[in-house]
């Protein structure tokens, strides 16, 4: 059987892509497109766009700027009560908006594919995915059901799914998010469309999976010579995959430039000027001093109800944190980093191992002893609004720890609350407000102030910046750096945001699937990552690079497949099934965290035996 792909339409070399695209004929042209939902102003107003054949175009904009509405309108669709009130969309010269509905449907699906944001919601839960891919193909091509099945297998292979024959038998709920998104791409590509519109296809996926998927999409569309309109909020994605970048604001395209120009343009970056080193305080210089907190072979598993199996959330994690130091704990979702943070404070009891606070093991402490130490060990949670009592004023909230751990009178507490607010740069009038009156940046400051109330030595920061807007994120990082310099407090900074981690941390521990795989200084980990997972994680970090795109370089540090389930962990190295460097021995030999020659800790025998050589990842950040 033949691939439904035209073998003669070979993709041109990617280097000359943008120049060639300029000469290629336009596939889709939109002019003056206006979509409104009832009351003015329209969500999309006077939207103009041209996509040429073979072009990979990024449409960048903040949430709510009308990206998705515009994308649907390009297909002649509008979500009720929305209505396309003006403008013209021409697909290869034919007006898409005025043509008969039957002809419109033919173009949609056959010539223009759409990938939506929520992959599992977009798949039919009642049909096997093979049928769904086949159905779309049969809607536009004459062919038998068997032929459609074969086609589905081909398509799944094209989007890089292992064992595609078996996967065609799967239902949507049996697929992981990344896998479901691939199936959607397969559906969209199944009729070899000339244009693919992808609406934030990787939102909600982990970084290594996101990179894997975008790489695959890039390759697949280059092979089918399709044009792509990729809608996203992430500058990193457009900078690393696209030929051309359109920036949308308030329903209009405000910038249109080549990706190369975009990358070189002064960064309207998420993070302002990277001003890391200048404020990062040096932790205690005395190496002999006992660490504030030592984590000693901590494991935590959760029983699976109705089964003898267990979920391994944390396995054998060890590290320590010195006074005034920030240790970054990075890893993808589900890697166990949050559980580690909870175990440190005994908010979750470790199943094995111990945590020592200034040499005193916490797990042997009774209730009163633990309560005493609670004032010294604090936590700031991810969602600032969720972690405050909505019925309590800020004064009440900040007084709670003072009531528990000090003998201050009411007036004394009010005074201390004022000090705390000043410490986190909030006006004292905030004390009378309730959480709903404040924005998330201010709320996170309140959370930090509450954690600081009893002058702790150590604070777990559990993704404190993840729900904040970029500006608030920057100012919170500055605040944390200042607080550390002033108070000498130690932080465990849990995050998957590598950019923030690189700005605030002295050392970094990388977690993968319940284990710590590498611990080193920020310098060591970011400049010269050693463990294959760390390498892949940094390589997946789609930070705009001024010179080149991820797709232009030969990326070797790429993981394959899916993250294994924490219930059935692999026998040998946990990364073995995805690792590009795996050899036979990796499958059988469990890996131990061992100190390497340069002082960092590593969990990979091949790196320790110096079998891998250096990595070729271009530096993500300049320190």
């Amino acid at each position: 059987m033949t691939m439904p792909l035209d073998a003669t339409r070979q993709a041109p070399a990617s280097a000359g892509q943008s120049r060639e695209a300029d000469l290629a004929p336009a596939i889709l042209e939109a002019s003056g497109l206006t979509v409104g939902y009832g009351a003015p102003p329209p969500i999309v107003a006077g939207f103009d766009l041209t996509i040429r054949r073979g072009e990979f175009v990024g449409l960048l904009g903040e949430s709510g700027c009308g990206k998705s509405t515009a994308a649907y309108a390009l297909l002649g669709l509008a979500r009720p009560p929305g209505r396309i009130s003006a403008g013209r969309v021409a697909f290869k010269g034919q007006d898409l908006l005025t043509m008969p509905a039957a002809r419109q449907r033919e173009i949609r699906g056959k010539h223009i594919g759409l990938i939506v944001q929520n992959p599992r919601g977009a798949l039919n839960p009642m049909l096997r995915v093979g049928r769904q891919i086949g159905n779309v193909w049969r809607a536009h091509n004459a062919g038998s059901a068997t032929r459609a099945e074969e086609h589905a297998v081909e398509m799944l292979k094209l989007v890089g799914i292992n064992d595609p024959k078996r996967r065609t038998e799967a239902f949507a709920h049996e697929l992981s998010g990344g896998m479901a998104q691939r199936v959607l791409i397969a559906i969209a590509l199944s009729s070899t469309p000339e244009l693919l519109i992808a609406d934030e296809p990787t939102s909600g996926l982990d970084v290594t999976i996101q990179a894997q998927l975008l790489d695959q999409m890039w390759q697949s569309t280059r092979r089918t010579h399709s044009s792509v309109l990729l809608i996203t909020q992430e500058t990193g994605i457009v900078a690393n995959y696209c030929d051309r970048v359109l920036v949308m604001r308030e329903g209009r395209i405000v910038e249109d430039m080549t990706a190369a120009a975009y990358r070189r343009a002064p960064r309207r970056s998420l993070l302002g000027a990277g001003n890391k080193a200048k404020t990062l305080a040096t932790p205690g210089e005395d190496d002999q001093a006992a660490p504030v907190l030592a984590v000693d072979h901590v494991s935590r598993f959760f029983p699976v109800p109705g089964s003898t199996k267990r979920v391994q959330a944390v396995s054998d994690v060890s590290f320590d944190i010195a006074a005034g130091e920030t240790l970054g704990l990075v890893g993808e979702s589900g890697s166990g980093k949050t559980t580690v943070g909870r175990c440190l404070l005994r908010l979750i009891e470790p199943s094995e191992g111990r945590v020592l606070y200034r040499g005193e093991p916490l797990n042997t402490l009774g209730k009163t002893g633990m309560r005493r130490i609670r004032s010294k060990l604090q936590i700031v949670l991810q969602d600032p609004y969720d972690s405050l009592d909505p019925r309590w004023s800020i004064l009440q909230t900040l007084s709670e720890p003072l009531k528990l751990h000090t003998d201050l009178s009411g007036a004394g507490r009010a005074k201390r609350v004022e000090e705390l607010l000043a410490q986190v740069d909030l006006p004292k009038t905030v004390a009378a407000l309730r959480p709903r009156d404040l924005g998330s940046g201010a709320l996170q400051r309140i959370n930090i102030a509450r954690a600081l109330a009893c002058a702790p030595d150590f604070i777990v920061l559990d993704e404190p910046t993840s729900v904040l807007a970029p500006a608030a994120r920057t100012s919170l990082v500055e605040l944390l750096l200042r607080l550390q310099a002033e108070l000498g407090v130690s932080f465990l900074f849990i995050s998957h945001d590598l950019t923030t981690v690189s700005q605030i941390c002295h050392r970094i521990a990388v977690m993968y699937l319940s284990q710590v795989v590498e611990v080193g200084t920020t310098e060591q980990v970011f400049r010269d990552p050693q463990h294959p997972y760390t390498r892949a994680l940094l390589a997946s970090h789609l930070d705009p690079h001024p010179e080149e795109r991820r797709v232009d370089r030969a990326v070797q540090e790429r993981l394959a497949g899916e993250i294994p389930s924490p219930i059935d962990l692999p026998k040998g190295c946990y990364l073995q099934s995805r690792c590009p460097h795996a050899v036979e021995r990796c499958a059988t030999e469990p890996q131990k965290l061992v100190r390497a020659a340069d002082g960092r800790m590593l969990r990979c025998w091949r790196v320790l035996a110096d079998e891998l050589g250096g990595s070729d990842i271009p530096l993500v950040h300049d320190a």
Partner: protein, 302 residues
Amino acid sequence: MSSADFTLIREATVPRLRRLRGHGLTIVAGLVVLAILLLAVIGPSISPFDPTVADAEPFLPPPNLSAWPGLLWAALSGAGTPVHWFGTDASGLDVFSRVISAPRTDLSIAVLANGFALLIGVPAGLLAGYFRNWGTETLMRVSDVLQSFPVFISAMILVALAGQSTVNIVAALAVLYSPIYVRLMRAEVMTQGARGMVEASRALGSSEVAIAIRHVLPNSLGPTLVQSSVTIGFAILLTAGLSFVGAGVRPPTPEWGLMISNGASGIMLGQWWPSVFPGIAISLTVFSFAALGDVLERAYRS
């Protein structure tokens, strides 16, 4: 720097009552509920006749509609004799006086029953939702068993067993309505208990009991209080129902269900007024409490 993310959200501070505006039905329901509450307090003292003393002809029909304006004027200006607005029943009791005096009986039974149901259900639900162990699971199964019987039948049996008195009616209704609150409270406590504020407070060193009472309980009461309005409405209906079948309050206490029951036999003879007026009163009341509950729920969710 910090002023950028220091935003006041104005919309959320709009007074709750203003959000209720623009709903005609809501206003009507609210007015009816207010009127019933008012009548429960002053009803017996403003009724033109003693609601429990029969001193008129039986089965006097209400005055003709056309005569009402004149009679109203006379009554308001203090002239003329008291009128039997809704006629009189088989014993010669004034129906109007009994209709406006009945809320004191019906509403106090309903409100008390609801209050006791809350007193049982809220702590039990808090326990069951916050401390989940075999003990609280047993509690939930007991509450499931209670809920599995039809409320009306159970109420009849309980009152029949314990003896026909107001106290027993209140007790029976309280026991039968408490499982609703246990369930509602437990569900809400489980949601609130999973919030970061609980974990944050735990990390500060608060005891579990303190967290449950100071953080979780106040934040979980909303749906329960909303449900109260609906429950009071249904409790009024149930009280009336019990009297209707003879298991409720005893005559001659003014009570709507009792009045409907007593007047039912006369309907076939064209004597509709002893039953229809209390019937309208019950319908309006139950509907209004339910509508108010609905509005409160919407206000709570938004």
